[in-house]
Amino acid sequence: MKTTNRAVRTPGGLSVRLDVRALTVVLLLLVAALTASVVLIGTGDFPIPAADVLRTLFGEGNAGQEFIVNELRLPRVLVGLLVGASLGLGGALFQSISRNPLGSPDVLGLGQGATAGALTVIVLFSGSANQVAAGALVGGLVTGLAIYVLAWKRGVHGYRLVLVGIGVSAIVTAVNGYLLTKSDIVDAARAVVWMTGSLDGRDWAQVWPLLGLCAVLVPLVLCNARGLRMMEMGDDVSYALGVRVERVRLLLMVAAVLLTASATAAAGPVSFVALTAPQLARRLTRAPGPNLLASLCMGAALLVIADWLSQRAFGAEQLPVGVVTGVLGGAYLLWLLVTERKAGRI
């Protein structure tokens, strides 16, 4: 029962290969993410039963519920789903390209870079929420570029990318610390909340750009997934198989940086989703390969469930979701390091 691949063929000579197990995992995760979303929409100071939530979503609720669901809670949940999906996919891309589970955006300092951008806007310019998001996006992209320039000479080698990322991350963290010390107490409080990663107060204005970006990038990434799968066997083998390695890698890396940076811009540096989602997804599908779709769904499910947990456990105080993902992801990272050590890889 190791191979669960099935091929679907048409008389015209077209064929699609499906991994039944992976497909099942994707569907189950999708169901889990959507169920958690409905529950999450019903959670809060004014609880709404799941059936009412569904009815309202389909346009048949009463006016009060409609306002709460459609205006307040739905956009927040959608941002959560999109951010989780972007981080899951971005993480899977990074880990596959670096051939290293540690080569994920959290470890590489992309989150820190986005934070630096956001802090600059908050502390030096006291900018609006949108300006903060723009600052975070720019910060993430610049960090991605810096890592590219520093680590890229003749292809990425897993550990070099990780080490350069850690170095960049350390420098940016220092800059962030400096910015915080320069800030007054109001800005500092705002900055710290942003830095933990939170979905509080997210509305439709955050949903549309994220949705637009995902609508472009996700299909683009999936079209190149077959090349990425070949690249897991090493650059030489994939060249020999006719993959345009440099092109595919650059394209996917840019996509991964964009996904991660925009997710961070929308919700702050939600920690460890990008690291854990691909690993959890791979353990469920048990399939080699980048497991892109499964990671995407896993990221979305993880983030929404973590958000629900943080609201559920701490009620009105609303612990930022980044704290929950941080605790869960940190524990997972430790476990990963211990097992990698046992496997003799670290």
Partner: protein, 290 residues
């Protein structure tokens, strides 16, 4: 002694190429022809540029001057997948992804024949089965690649390259890290692919005796230059081995096959000329000359 020939009917050739990594020049004005339907073996001392030449022939290294021609076209200007359907390469460094099965890995060799809407045709299925059968790994199809022995794993990689169905197949040191039995095993497989299927094979080998026994065409390189090329019987002499590897030796007839067999001179005989740091015939110091 680079020969500047005009492009000929042979499918794969390097014309007057300069090969370099960044600033480090490995070879200059190197011209090589791979005779069609031959089993060509490239030999030479460490760092003579044999693997570099193979990388250039398989378009992984772009020559800084000169050109590599495949079917009369400059290889770099051809579409990547088209090259991959004509010329296969088994590189030295390959990574078996975690948790991949033999069948799955061999199946990946079909990549250049596939597209986004042609992911797994019946033809793919057939070729993969056929490749695994030829390399004797069919019964391992459901096993994980990580669990296999070195010899089995090399067969699996060769099967993957075969699944590419290319008339030309390049192998970079396919026998490294294998024990003697598995080395012979892999070389027998290569000979079979060459003789029975008429594929053109190009391999880089370390062992001169293996090269002399299996090759139909031998290219001896030193410091990025072709010192000699031709059938092993015609070119392998004590003088050539000394010129290329800096090793004094006798060349006798292989009692099994009649091909040239290189027997390094005894240490005492060599010590006369210079210090004999002799561990391993090929690695013997190349500086001494007498």
């Amino acid at each position: 002694m680079s020969k500047n020939r005009r492009s000929t009917v042979n499918r794969l050739s390097a014309e007057n190429v300069t090969l370099a990594y960044d600033q480090r020049v490995i070879a200059e004005h190197l011209s090589v022809e791979i005779p069609d339907n031959s089993f060509t073996v490239i030999v030479g001392p460490n760092a003579c540029g044999k693997s570099t030449l193979l990388r250039a022939l398989s378009r992984m290294l772009k020559p800084s001057a000169g050109r590599v021609l495949l079917d009369g076209q400059v290889i770099q200007s051809m579409p990547a997948k088209k090259v991959a359907r004509t010329l296969g390469l088994l590189p030295q460094s390959s990574i078996a992804p975690d948790g991949i099965t033999v069948g799955d890995l061999v199946g990946r060799g079909r990549y250049p024949h596939q597209g986004i809407l042609r992911q797994w045709s019946t033809e793919d299925e057939r070729v993969v089965q056929e490749s695994m059968r030829q390399t004797g790994v069919a019964e391992l199809a459901e096993r994980y690649v990580d669990e296999l022995s070195g010899g089995q794993r090399q067969r699996v990689w060769i099967a993957m390259a075969l699944a590419q169905q290319t008339p030309l197949l390049l192998l970079d040191e396919p026998t490294t890290f294998l024990d003697i039995q598995h080395q012979i095993d892999v070389l027998d497989l290569c000979a079979e692919l060459h003789e029975e299927q008429g594929r053109t094979l190009v391999a880089v080998l370390h062992d001169l005796n293996h090269a002399a026994r299996y090759a139909t065409h031998l290219i001896a390189l030193r410091e990025g230059q072709v010192i000699a090329e031709g059938a092993p019987k015609d070119i392998v002499t004590a003088g050539l081995v000394e010129e290329v590897f800096g090793l004094r030796c006798q060349v006798i007839d292989d009692p099994e096959t009649g091909t040239p067999l290189v027997v390094p001179a005894a240490r005492k005989a060599r010590v006369g000329a210079a210090s004999g740091a002799g561990t391993g015939a090929e690695k013997a110091v190349a500086t001494e000359a007498s």
